[in-house]
C-alpha cells in the first residue's frame, strides 16, 4: 500500500523554547485506519496540529524533519492549504460553531472546495444520510446539541471538504460508552464506504485499537512503540498501562490504590 502521509523525524518547538516533539516519524498508508495513542501531554495533539498546519496560532513551529502528504511536501504549509491538499482535522473538543445552525456548520466545511455547488449539495445530503440523527436538528444552533451530536457535526463538517485523509483528535473525549461505540462505528464506515484514510488520536486505547489497522504509541514527544493493532492489543505492557488490565487478565480495582502521604513540612 502507498503511504498517503509520511511524517519524518519532525521536531516541534513552542515559543522558540519548549520542545514538544523530538523526532516523530509515522506513516499512514492509503485507505487504512491508523491510531496514535498515548497519555496526556505525550504530544499527540501537537503531532496532529503539525500535520494540519495549525501550529502557528499556538506559536509553535516545525524545526526539523518533513511532512509529506500525497507526495507533496506540506511541512511549512498553512492550515488552509493543507485542507486544500485533502487532509482535514476534527479538532479536540469538537469545536463546532455554537452560534451557527447544524446545517451551516456542515456547509462551512466545503469552503475550500472548488467544484460545483451541485456536488456540494449532494455531499450535504450524503452527510445527513450518514448521520441521520443530525437531519432532525438541521436548523438548531449547534451549541445546543449534545456532545455526541457535536462530535458528529464536527466529523460531517470535516468530511464536507471531501478529504483524502481525515484526522480525528480524541473523538471519545467526554462521551458516554455507548456513544463512543457509535462514533467509532461511524469512523469505520467512513473508512470503508467513502474510501477515506483515517488517522485517529486517542487515549482510549481499547476502542482505538479495535478499529485501527496499525497503531503508534507516543510518550513525552517520542514514538515509543508501533505495530499492527492486533499485535499491540496483546502486548502486555500496552495492556497494563494503556488499557488498565493487570497481568492476571482481570482489571485492577481503583479501591486498592495505596495511599501514602508525607506528613511533615519544612514550614
Amino acid at each position: 500500500m502507498e503511504n498517503l502521509l509520511e511524517v519524518n523525524n519532525i521536531e516541534v518547538v513552542y515559543n522558540d523554547i519548549i520542545q514538544v516533539l523530538r523526532g516523530v516519524s509515522l506513516n499512514v498508508p492509503e485507505g487504512s485506519i491508523v491510531s496514535l495513542l498515548g497519555t496526556n501531554g505525550a504530544g499527540k495533539t501537537t503531532t496532529l496540529r503539525a500535520i494540519s498546519g495549525l501550529l502557528k496560532p499556538e506559536n509553535g513551529a516545525i524545526k526539523e524533519g518533513y511532512i509529506k502528504f500525497d507526495g507533496t511536501d506540506t511541512t511549512q504549509m498553512m492550515g488552509t492549504e493543507v485542507v486544500r491538499q485533502g487532509a482535514v482535522m476534527v479538532p479536540e473538543g469538537r469545536r463546532v460553531f455554537k452560534h451557527l445552525t447544524v446545517n451551516e456548520n456542515i456547509l462551512v466545511g466545503s469552503i475550500t472546495r472548488k467544484d460545483s455547488s451541485a456536488a456540494i449539495k449532494d455531499d450535504l445530503a450524503l452527510m445527513y444520510r450518514h448521520f441521520p440523527r443530525l437531519s432532525k436538528v438541521t436548523n438548531r444552533m449547534a451549541g445546543y446539541s449534545s456532545g455526541g451530536e457535536q462530535q458528529m457535526i464536527a466529523i460531517a463538517r470535516a468530511l464536507m471538504a471531501a478529504p483524502k485523509m481525515l484526522m480525528l483528535d480524541e473523538p471519545s473525549l467526554g462521551l458516554a460508552p455507548l456513544l463512543v461505540k457509535e462514533i467509532f462505528d461511524n469512523i469505520q464506515r467512513i473508512n470503508k464506504e467513502m474510501d477515506t484514510t483515517i488517522l485517529v488520536v486517542e487515549q482510549n486505547a481499547k476502542v482505538a485499537l479495535a478499529i485501527s489497522d496499525y497503531a503508534y504509541i507516543m510518550e513525552s514527544g517520542k514514538i515509543v512503540l508501533e505495530g499492527p493493532s492486533k499485535e499491540l492489543q496483546n502486548n502486555p505492557d500496552v495492556k497494563e498501562f494503556y488499557m488498565g488490565i493487570t497481568k492476571g487478565g482481570g482489571r485492577k480495582s481503583f479501591k486498592d490504590i495505596k495511599s501514602y502521604k508525607r506528613r511533615k513540612r519544612w514550614m
Binding site: 494540519s52 495549525l54 496560532p57 498553512m78 492550515g79 488552509t80 493543507v82 485542507v83 486544500r84 482535514v88 482535522m89 476534527v90 479538532p91 469538537r94 469545536r95 463546532v96 460553531f97 455554537k98 452560534h99 451557527l100 451551516e104 456548520n105 456547509l107 462551512v108 466545511g109 466545503s110 469552503i111 475550500t112 444552533m141 451549541g143 445546543y144 464536527a154 463538517r157 470535516a158 464536507m160 471538504a161
Partner: protein
C-alpha cells in the same frame, strides 16, 4: 399631525443613515470580535476621498462614490493587516485601545490635509427641490441615502445568511481554531471583514457628507454616535443595527421635536439615545438582537 409624520419620516431617514454607519462596526465585530473605535475616521476618510476625486480630479460623482468605496475597501483591509493582525487573541481591552490609537493616528494624518480643519461641500448632483407628499417632505439626498442604505444592508445580510464565505465569516467569530481546522483562512476573513466595513463606511461618509457638508469634526464623531445603535441592536446583528438605527433616529427626532424648547430642555437629541440605551440594556443585556453566549458550565 403633519408635524408628527414629518418627525417620523425624519427619524427613519436619520435612523437608516445611523444603521449604515453602524453596519461597518457590526461587520467587524461579527467576524473578529473587535469594537472599532476608528470607524468614524474611516467614514470621514471615505467622504474626503469622494470629494477629492469629484472636485479636485473631476471624476463624475457616481464613479468617485464607487471608487471611494473601493479605495476604503483596500484601506481598511491594510489597516487590519498592519495593526490588528498581530493582536488576534489579545484581550478585548488591548484591541479596543488599538482602534482608539488608530483613530488618533488617522486624525493626525487627516490634520495634515486641508480636510482636517476646513469645511467643504459636495457639488449638488441631485435635484434640490424636495419631494413633498401630504405635507411631509424629504430631500432627494436623503431619499437616495436611504435607498443606498437599504440596498447595502440587504446585500450584506444576504451575504452572511446564504453565501459560504459569509457563513465562514460567522464561523470565524464563533471559533477561530475550529475554523482553521476546516480550512478557513482566518486572517483573510478578518481582512475581508474590515474591507467590507471600510466599504460601507465610505458609503455612509458620502451620504452623511452630502447632508451635513464635509466637516471632519462632525464626520468622525459618527464613530462614537453610532455606538449606542450598535449596542442596542446587539453587536453582531445586521438586522439589529437596522432596527436599532431607526429606533435611535426616531428617539432623537422625537426628543428634539417634543422635549427641546420645553421645560428648559435643550440638546436632548444628543443624549436621549444613551439614556434609552442604558435602560434597554438593563432588561436585555445583549441588546435587542445580540447573540446570547451559549455557555456550558
Amino acid at each position: 399631525m403633519v408635524y408628527f409624520f414629518q418627525i417620523v419620516v425624519s427619524g427613519i431617514v436619520v435612523g437608516s443613515i445611523y444603521a449604515l454607519a453602524a453596519l461597518g462596526l457590526v461587520l467587524v465585530y461579527k467576524s473578529s470580535r473587535v469594537a472599532n473605535f476608528a470607524h468614524g475616521q474611516i467614514i470621514a476618510a471615505g467622504a474626503f476621498i469622494t470629494y477629492f476625486l469629484t472636485v479636485d480630479l473631476g471624476v463624475p460623482i457616481f464613479f468617485s462614490f464607487l471608487a471611494s468605496m473601493v479605495i476604503t475597501f483596500f484601506l481598511a483591509m491594510s489597516v487590519e493587516r498592519i495593526f490588528l493582525r498581530r493582536l488576534i487573541g489579545e484581550p478585548i481591552i488591548s484591541v479596543i485601545m488599538v482602534t482608539i490609537g488608530l483613530a488618533s493616528i488617522i486624525d493626525g494624518l487627516i490634520y495634515l490635509t486641508p480636510f482636517g480643519t476646513e469645511n467643504f461641500s459636495f457639488p449638488a448632483f441631485l435635484p434640490t427641490t424636495p419631494l413633498t407628499i401630504a405635507g411631509v417632505s424629504i430631500s432627494w439626498t436623503q431619499l437616495v441615502g436611504v435607498i443606498i442604505t437599504f440596498i447595502l444592508i440587504g446585500g450584506f445580510s444576504w451575504f452572511f445568511k446564504k453565501s459560504t464565505v459569509g457563513i465562514s465569516m460567522r464561523a470565524v467569530s464563533d471559533d477561530q481554531f475550529g475554523s482553521m481546522s476546516v480550512g478557513i483562512s482566518v486572517p483573510r476573513v478578518f481582512g475581508l471583514a474590515w474591507a467590507t466595513a471600510g466599504l460601507s463606511a465610505a458609503a455612509a461618509g458620502c451620504i452623511i457628507g452630502n447632508i451635513t457638508g464635509l466637516n471632519f469634526d462632525t464626520l468622525h464623531a459618527f464613530g462614537i454616535v453610532v455606538f449606542p445603535v450598535v449596542i442596542l441592536g446587539g453587536l453582531d446583528s445586521i438586522m439589529g443595527a437596522v432596527v436599532a438605527g431607526i429606533i435611535m433616529g426616531l428617539i432623537q427626532q422625537f426628543a428634539t421635536g417634543y422635549l427641546d424648547g420645553n421645560w428648559g430642555l435643550n440638546g436632548t437629541g444628543d443624549v436621549a439615545p444613551y439614556i434609552v440605551l442604558l435602560i434597554i440594556l438593563l432588561f436585555k443585556p445583549h441588546g435587542l438582537f445580540g447573540i446570547h453566549e451559549i455557555e456550558r458550565v
